[in-house]
């Protein structure tokens, strides 16, 4: 009898042990099944089935899958095994492989751990549909995530699915949530879901809540609720919904107002950084430099080169020779710093090219503006062709570092980091130029030569040299502009052509020979352009109107915003 009991007891224990270990392995097994399933519908079904499992180990695996971090190990003849590579790279670039299904190291027939090279393996495939399913699963795990940003996103995604059974989970979280943004999202999610409630009273409360939150994303849902209420003749609800829509619309126009201000400022800053170099060479020196745009392009290509040197290197066909520049193969955070190195280098490269241009051509043409226009136009064509020969006629890819590609959203207004950066950058450049011109001996010389060349020369100033350095400064600033433009637009041989008109426009409107005028006109044009786009809802018409406005403005004030008063007898 006792043996029987013992036997039953042992069996039971074993069974329990087995089942518990089974349940631990189960989500992983489901995940592997999903990876190997042959149709997307089944894959999605399997992935979604993971949603109920509270298994933290699934989360990193799903994330790795989404980011191409899981690989298929395919021994010949056998079924493929999804693996994850962990640990440090060894001498052959290989890393230890861990089986996705068990979490144990992958071993070969002799039981030795297998090391694999990521490049030799195929990543486990995924499509946008699968990624969306994975995101759903991750979102549910994320409601309790310690990272507020993740909680926020998860709550928004789940909230807008309007599933009433999720409300208790939201309310539970709301009771303990401390982050104000997440609290707002939770209230929004609850209210949005309540719009699906059969009771009018609940709906009414929900609409009131959404009105108070002026929630942009629930606009469509409130509108639907309003129509349903209209159809069901529940007047009170319909009126409240209409009021909520009006409140949200008002909020929208507020956002748009401040958004436009910010965008105008950032567009103005871009105009300012591309034009400030020209304001020095054209405005102060009186040289009509049609090759200014190409100086910008040189800065942009320098950034491209620096990026490639930080990466895998680059080969340039250099007028018949092939010039191979080795790369440093950096990755991660250090790679991202390439832009900080590119900034001074693009300034230097453009400045050197500018000085070369000044020495070889422009210095012969100081008193002949029309000839300098023609000659520099020729130089611009030459430089464009040169860039084409070196880098090809296609645009090249410059990837933005991560610190320039995010955004910062305050009260539904988006502040893109690249745009915030450009405003700061423009500010720094203006400050730098002001420092050089007013606080350095060079600045003093530049100003004296600009005001009265003959007198300065008589006082012993080497005007030739000052001219050269001033031109170099203007060109270098164009190079800096190019480095920045590579982060927001195209880098191609004709890059300069796209900006040269904007540059001249900005400088002429500001008043030739006046740096402050350039600043005001850049910011002014930027603001007017963005406001017109906002009002007319049409960028094409907006652009035309800006040009017309500039023409009219120049009719009224032919010498621009600020007129430079000179003591020169010629003027």
């Amino acid at each position: 009898m006792r043996t029987y009991i013992r036997l039953i007891f042992t069996t039971l224990t074993l069974w329990l042990a087995a089942s518990s270990s089974l349940s631990a392995a189960e989500p992983r097994a489901t995940l592997v099944e999903a990876m190997l399933a042959d149709n997307d519908a089944r894959k999605i079904e399997l992935i979604t089935s993971l949603a109920g499992e509270v298994d933290e180990s699934i989360k990193p695996l799903l994330i790795a899958w989404r980011e191409d971090g899981l690989y298929l190990y395919e021994p010949s003849g056998a079924t493929p095994v999804p693996v994850q590579l962990t640990g440090e790279k060894d001498a052959d670039d290989a890393r230890a492989a861990v089986r996705v299904d068990t979490g144990a190291p992958l071993v070969d027939a002799e039981g030795k751990p297998v090391h694999l090279v990521a490049g030799d393996l195929n990543a486990v495939e995924h499509t946008s549909m699968l990624r969306r399913a994975m995101k759903g699963v991750l979102d549910l795990i994320d409601i309790g995530s310690p990272d507020a940003k993740k909680r926020l996103q998860a709550i928004q995604t789940i909230g807008f699915a309007q599933e009433t059974d999720k409300i208790p989970a939201f309310q539970k979280r709301l009771a303990i949530e401390e982050n104000s943004k997440v609290r707002r999202a939770l209230r929004e999610a609850i209210a949005v879901t309540q719009l699906k409630d059969p009771s009018d009273a609940v709906k009414l409360a929900a609409v009131k809540e959404l009105k108070e939150l002026h929630s942009l994303s629930s606009y469509d849902l409130i509108r639907t609720a309003m129509r349903e209420a209209d159809a069901a003749k529940s007047t009170e609800l319909a009126t409240e919904a209409k009021a909520a829509l009006v409140a949200i619309d008002n909020h929208k126009s507020n956002i748009n107002f401040f958004g436009t201000l910010f965008r105008g400022l950032s567009l103005g800053s871009i105009l300012l950084i591309v034009a400030i170099g020209l304001a020095i060479t054209f405005g102060l020196m009186g040289v009509i430099n049609m090759a200014h745009g190409e100086m910008i392009a040189i800065g942009a290509y320098t950034t491209y080169l620096v990026e490639n040197i930080f990466g895998a290197g680059i080969t340039i066909p250099f007028f018949g020779f092939s010039l191979a520049i080795p790369g440093m193969n950096t990755t991660g955070a250090f790679y991202q710093t390439y832009f900080l190195f590119a900034l001074p280098l693009s300034f230097l490269t453009a400045a050197v090219v500018g000085i070369g241009l000044e020495r070889s051509i422009i210095r012969f043409l100081y008193r002949r503006p029309l000839e300098s226009l023609l000659a520099t136009w020729g130089v611009s064509l030459l430089l464009q062709q040169g860039l084409k020969l070196m880098f090809g006629s296609n645009n090249v890819q410059v990837s933005s570092p991560s610190y320039l590609s995010g955004n910062w959203t305050v009260n539904d207004i988006i502040f893109g980091w690249n745009r915030v950066f450009v405003i700061g950058f423009a500010g720094l450049i203006v400050f730098g130029v002001w420092l050089i011109l007013t606080k350095t001996p060079l600045g003093l010389l530049i100003r004296s030569v600009m005001q009265n060349r003959g007198m300065a020369s008589c006082m012993g100033v080497r005007t030739e040299r000052v001219n050269m350095l001033t031109f170099g400064l203007g060109s270098g600033l164009a190079g800096l502009a190019g480095a920045f433009i590579s982060q927001i637009g195209n880098v191609g041989p004709s890059l300069g052509q796209n900006y040269i008109v904007d540059c001249f426009m900005t400088v002429v409107v500001g008043g030739v020979g006046n740096l402050a005028g350039t600043i005001y006109s850049a910011l002014g044009i930027g603001l007017v352009d963005q406001s017109l786009q906002q009002i007319l809802l049409n960028p094409v018409l907006g652009k035309i109107l800006v040009l017309v406005a500039i023409i009219l403005f120049l009719q009224w004030r032919p010498s621009g915003l600020f007129v430079t008063r000179s003591r020169n007898l010629d003027d």
Partner: protein, 419 residues
């Protein structure tokens, strides 16, 4: 030493032309009319390359009706009046049997009267807006129902309910978006769910749908923030007919605003594998494309085609040709298919005469091209397969869905009626 080589090359070239003209009777002249300089050169040179490759391939197998193809390559230089002049030169001086060429709609419209007057034959390979059917043009191009409407079908099937239309301001995007507007309304998508704005004439009829930017536009802040607001409620897709390199600032701004393919995917009709060479592929991952061919198609015919083209690039002596990093894309394959269809038509007609060749083309010829079987139609368009793909970090498309044998229908405006 350098001079000697130069002299020798020049001599060889001269000799080559002499032999060429001596053999003139054994060849048939075929025109290639693309922009090899100017803004469109980036895209159109690839088409010249693939055409020359196709001619070499056909010549190696004995040519057409026993005659070798002799290409006459002219440069339209992205200049539309020049296109008409060059077309005139091809037809009246060189007396070409057929021309393969044009990319932009405006270049096609410019050469159209020339081909109609001289009763020439032009094969046109690039997706276009429809609303045209000339007996002197064979459109291997995708019609709107072979690219834009299948993409919308796919998005609707995926549960998207809001659509934002955006494009470059010229005839192809404007017409396509008007067709799409009618199509969406006929699919019961409410008009307030279609974003981008509308323009109406005095009678209240919508004459333009969607948001348009000029060529070379660089500032997409305003539009992206509008898309962000429009898509706040979820289930939104952006339908883009933006052309050329304006896509770079657009997608950079799109990513900076925190929009991704998972939040609101962009389906583009003008970005092919070839355009990816200048785009930041990483920021485009997961965005959608729709064409009648992708390089990633896993058929034997396609693998063969890609391999042969790459091999040809290595050995070719065409001056200035780009040999590194080349890919194949839909307009290239439709050019390739066009040459083979023309060859089949000539062989069926037994003559190079345009009227006879046209009749043969209209009789329904088939060709198994790299993108699958294509069949000519009576209305001078092609029946072919349509593919939806999503972009990968390597600048290729991963195929998500295929529509088999879609009939090319050029006249779509006013065809879809909302009930």
């Amino acid at each position: 030493m350098f001079k000697v080589t130069q002299l020798m090359t020049a001599g060889a070239l001269a000799l080559g032309t002499m032999i060429g003209s001596a053999r003139a009777a054994d060849t048939v002249k075929v025109g290639v009319l693309h922009s090899l300089s100017g803004t469109m050169a980036i895209s159109e040179t690839s088409l010249r390359d693939v055409l020359l490759f196709t001619f070499d391939e056909i010549n190696a197998k004995g040519g057409v009706l026993g005659k070798k193809i002799e290409p006459v390559v002219v440069d339209g230089a992205s200049n539309w009046p020049l296109f008409a002049e060059k077309a005139k030169q091809l037809l009246e001086e060189d007396k070409v049997a057929v021309t393969f060429g044009c990319w932009t709609s405006v270049s096609r419209k410019s050469v159209l009267p020339v081909y109609e007057k001289n009763n020439g034959l032009l094969f046109y390979p690039v997706q276009y807006e429809g609303q045209e059917e000339s007996k002197n043009v064979f459109y291997t191009a995708e019609a709107v129902n072979q690219q834009a409407t299948p993409a919308i079908d796919y998005l609707l099937e995926q549960g998207y309910t809001k659509f934002y239309l955006i494009g470059t301001d010229y005839v192809y995007p404007q017409t396509t978006n008007l067709v799409l507007l009618e199509y969406l309304l006929s699919k019961k998508v409410p008009i307030e769910n279609i974003g981008g704005g509308f323009k109406k004439d005095e009678s209240g009829k919508i004459i333009s749908a969607g948001k348009y930017t000029p060529f070379g536009h660089t500032d997409y802040q305003q539009i992206v923030s509008e898309i962000k607001q429009f898509s706040a409620g979820g289930k939104t897709a952006v339908v883009s007919t933006l052309n050329g390199d304006t896509n770079v600032p657009f997608f950079k701004e799109y990513a900076a605003a925190g929009l991704t393919a998972e939040i609101a995917p962009v389906v583009s009709f003008s970005i092919s594998e070839d355009e990816f060479r200048g785009l930041p592929a990483k920021q485009l991952v997961g965005q959608l494309g729709c064409w009648t061919y992708f390089q990633s198609i896993k058929s034997d015919a396609n693998k063969e085609f890609v391999k042969n083209f790459q091999k040809w690039l290595k050995t070719t002596t065409v001056p200035g040709i780009v040999k590194e990093g080349r890919v194949t894309c839909s307009p290239m394959v439709l050019s390739y298919d066009g040459v083979y269809l023309w060859k089949a038509a000539v062989e069926k007609a037994g003559s190079f005469d345009v009227d006879a060749v046209r009749a043969a083309l209209q009789s329904g010829l088939s060709f198994d091209g790299p993108g699958g079987k294509v069949t000519t139609q009576k209305n001078m368009h092609l029946t072919k397969n349509v593919f939806i793909g999503e972009t990968t970090a390597k600048g290729q498309f991963k195929i998500l869905k295929e529509f088999k044998d879609v009939y090319g229908e050029p006249w779509l405006l006013g065809k879809f009626k909302a009930e």
